[in-house]
Amino acid sequence: MLLLAALLAAAGGGGRREVSMQYNPGWNNSSVNLLHVRAVGQNDTLHYVWSSIGAPAALLVATGSQSSTLHVNWTRLLSPAPAGAIWIEPPGSVVYSTAVVFTKVFEYSKADTPEELFYPAYDLSSFSWDSINRTLNHTALTAEFLGVPASDPSGSFSNGSLAFRVTAYEANGRDGPLPSLLHTANSSKVEFVLAGVAPRGNGSRFALEVATVEEPGVARRLRSARSIDDEYTPTIFETLSLAAEARNASAALSFLQWKATAYGSRSPKREDGIRCRAHGLQAANWTLPASGVIRAYFGEGLGSAYAVSAINISFGGEDGEVYQEKRYLSWSALLGFGQPPEDTFSPLVISIMAVALGTPMALLLVGSVVVLFAQRKCYSEYEPIN
């Protein structure tokens, strides 16, 4: 585990990674989606494996070698028992691995009832996903997983879809559009988008269930940080992160980080903000995520040796009707290795404060000098008569 920190620190120093994307490596068929993002640093390689085989999921593997490679046994992966179908070569180079699975979308209503009314949840593992081959952009390093339920009895998805947009990063930086998350070269962004999906009731709100898989000795913890700095995400002061921490250390090994807001518009602005909250992170070893790549990589130990925990992230406040009007919801989160990045004051803010506070001080100084000088001059006019 310490090795990971050392590796990432080295990579953070360089700050840049060579990122390449590969669609369905070693399989010439676009009926399923598997996206391999390989980010090579100075002396390490980060592997992100995004896939919609089963529930949409991201497998994150950090390796201590520049030449580590991902291998997929496709026939086994697509079989009912995929254990061992995905592995890293050489196996000894793997430093740390974790996974994030988006399992379900809940829809519930608070309108006119004291308790929440839950509609049947959308199980993301039973969605049918478009091929990401068309949306794959090798220069911008983005791809989009677009899905609709395989069977849609309520017709909610007749004009709508659910999507996960993935962005990989080569270097440190910050996104342009809101929520303008700060990212490092050790992270990628996933954006959950619900567009045009008809709500099944008045005042419907949505929640996304996110499950994580951790190695033995590592546990996820929900961190909530309130910062005074809302310059990049106006009026949002809270940053949440689901950090993986080793039992004996508090430094994060990996993280899923997001601002406490979603947006109800394709071009998000402050007023489109939808309140976002996280509910009760808990162990969820009894329901194993139905994701092909996760089962394939972690194998039989999933749920026993590899701990699964889950959290619900809900969108919409007390009187959140933003979705009803716009029928659009987008929530962005950063997932990556190491410590989650933290916002700092922008140079603009610092320089404004410096000038604003410095000028009166300088003026006070100059003024005092001038006054003293003037007084001395005043006295010197009275020349001794003799």
Binding site: R226, I228, D229, D230, E231, Y232, T233, P234, T235, I236, F237, K269, R270, E271, D319, V349, I352, M353, V355, A356, L357, T359, P360, L363, L364, G367, V370, V371, A374
Partner: protein, 529 residues
């Protein structure tokens, strides 16, 4: 020229130079009616108290409705689907007409409408403005709401001038301070009640209609408009009582006595310009902040809606009792620049606290409330020290004008900054405004020091020098009177111009210098809002 203006104003000019010399004043009129009940006799205390109550409630409606947007910010933005910049335009639209109107308010009251008709007309403007504002919400037309605020602004500020003129005409003399104080407190109460009650009314209307939306907002604002109708009723009754008093006591209609000459602007001293800068930058960092405050406390400090309303109105609540206290303090001690400096630094500290810490915002807001009251008491009288008396009307009019201009621009800028850069940057922006104000205060201190101005004299020194000046003036006056008497002997048919001039100068010389300027300051205290 100054002499001529004095003469033209006539002895009825309450707030103007030579005020206090109303020959037909409320004391022992010839042939006053007998046998009237105490409450009906304009000379008796109960009747005057009734008039006082009416005067106080005259402004209640406009102060109540001025901050309606701030009290309902979340609702306005959600129901009308506007961003913060457009929301803040509601405040800007209130200020725009006053950039021009504050030069004419006094003129309109004195020369065109008269105080009674003027007050009624301005009250009607306020009512109509609020109704248009509410209709805009009912019809879901934001531009109509903006138009409503514009009309409301035309009435609101001028109504405040009219209110003060009434006060001067009825309570000239010892009671005036108290009356102004009460009116000011009433204004604060109006703002405070608004802050704390509009959200509640909205939720009641929401229960009634069963939904939120623009019609709920419209109905809520209509209900808020009732206070304006109430104020209009006060204006009507007051006009009747004033007319009646005029008949019974041969009392003249009150006048602002304001003389505005825009060409005076070129004669303004550097000190005055610095005072303008202090004023614009300071108020720009207070009023737009309060306009946006409620949601700020909800979003940054996780306050409940009621709690946010309460803390947002604390500035007004504090300034109600503190203004008279600080007024007295500054009067007794003098050293105005030091007080202004303290107020500005305290405000800066409170903005920095709000920007960079999560400390309990009650501390920062209470500091802001105290600083704000102190500044009002120390800053406004300074104008009277740096401007000759005959230019005072122009100076205050100009100050009010650029203050409104500043408020309008900063309000929109603040909304835009909030939408794109968030609260931290907004607070940094407000802090920068306060720093600009601080720079102006420091410069004012040195300019005053180097030019040997009297802004920072202690009250004792000021009094002593005034006494010297007064005896000097008396001596001069005696010589002149003698001279005039000689002249009059030579020319027995004196025209009434010189007669009035003599009368006035006689009065003027006996009044302490700051007396009339103080009245003028108070007549313009609508700016202190």
């Amino acid at each position: 020229m100054a002499e001529e203006e004095r003469a033209l104003l006539g002895p009825g000019g309450g707030g103007g130079p030579g005020g206090g010399g109303d020959p037909g004043g409320s004391v022992s009129p010839p042939g006053g009616p007998r046998g009237l009940a105490a409450a009906c006799d304009p000379r008796r205390l109960p009747h005057r108290l009734l008039v006082l109550a009416l005067m106080c409630f005259l402004g209640f409606g406009s102060y109540f409705c001025y901050d309606n947007p701030a009290a309902l910010q979340t609702q306005v933005q959600a129901d009308m689907k506007v961003n913060t910049a457009r929301f803040m335009a509601l405040y800007a639209w209130y200020s725009w007409p006053n950039v021009v109107l504050c030069f004419f308010g006094g003129f309109l009251i004195d020369r065109v409408f008269g105080i009674r008709l003027g007050t009624i007309i301005f009250s009607i403007f306020v009512c109509v403005g609020q109704v248009i504002f509410a209709l805009g919400a009912l019809f879901n037309a934001f531009w109509l709401m903006e138009a409503g605020r514009f009309v409301f602004g035309i009435g609101g500020e001028s109504l405040a001038v009219a209110q003060n003129t009434y006060a001067v005409s009825w309570f000239k003399g010892k009671e005036l301070n108290l009356v102004f104080g009460l009116q000011l407190s009433m204004a604060r109460i109006g703002s405070t009640v608004n802050m704390n009650i509009m959200g509640w009314i909205y939720s009641r209307v929401q229960d009634l209609l069963g939904r939120t939306g623009h019609s709920t907002l419209g109905l809520t604002l209509m209900i808020g408009g009732i206070t304006c109708l109430f104020s209009l009723a006060c204006a009507l009754i007051l006009a009747y009582l004033d007319k009646r008093a005029e008949k019974l006591l041969c009392k003249e209609q009150g006048k602002t006595g304001e003389v505005i000459k825009l060409t005076d602007v070129k004669d303004f001293s550097l000190s005055l310009w610095l005072i303008f800068v202090i004023c614009v930058c300071y108020y720009a960092a207070v009023f737009p902040f309060i306009g946006l405050g409620k949601v700020f406390f909800i979003e940054k400090f996780k306050f409940s809606s009621q709690e946010a309303s309460a803390i947002n109105s604390i500035v007004y609540i504090i300034s109600a009792p503190m203004s008279p206290v600080f007024g007295l303090l500054v009067d007794k001690v003098g050293k105005n620049i030091i007080w202004v400096l303290c107020a500005v630094i305290t405000t800066l500290a409170s903005h920095i606290m709000l920007a960079f810490t999560f400390w309990n915002p009650w501390v920062a807001m209470c500091l802001l409330g105290v600083a704000y009251s102190l500044l009002a008491c120390a800053l406004w009288p300074m104008v009277a020290f740096v401007v000759p008396e005959h230019q005072l009307g122009t100076a205050y009019g100009f100050m009010q004008s650029i203050q409104n201009l500043g408020l309008a621009i900063i309000a929109i800028a603040a909304g835009m900054i909030l939408d794109t850069r968030g609260y931290l940057f907004l607070e940094v922006f407000f802090s920068a405004c306060i720093c600009l104000s601080l720079i102006a205060v420091v410069m004012l201190y040195f300019v005053n020091h180097l030019t040997g101005g009297d802004l920072n004299w202690s009250a004792k020194k000021r009094e002593k020098l005034q006494k010297v000046a007064a005896t000097e003036a008396e001596e001069q006056e005696r010589l002149r009177r003698q001279n005039e008497d000689d002249l009059a002997k030579l020319r027995p048919k004196a025209d009434d111009f010189s007669l009035r001039n003599r009368y006035l100068s006689k009065l003027g010389a006996q009044l302490p210098d700051n007396y009339s300027s103080y009245l003028s300051t108070m007549a313009h205290r609508s700016m202190l809002k």
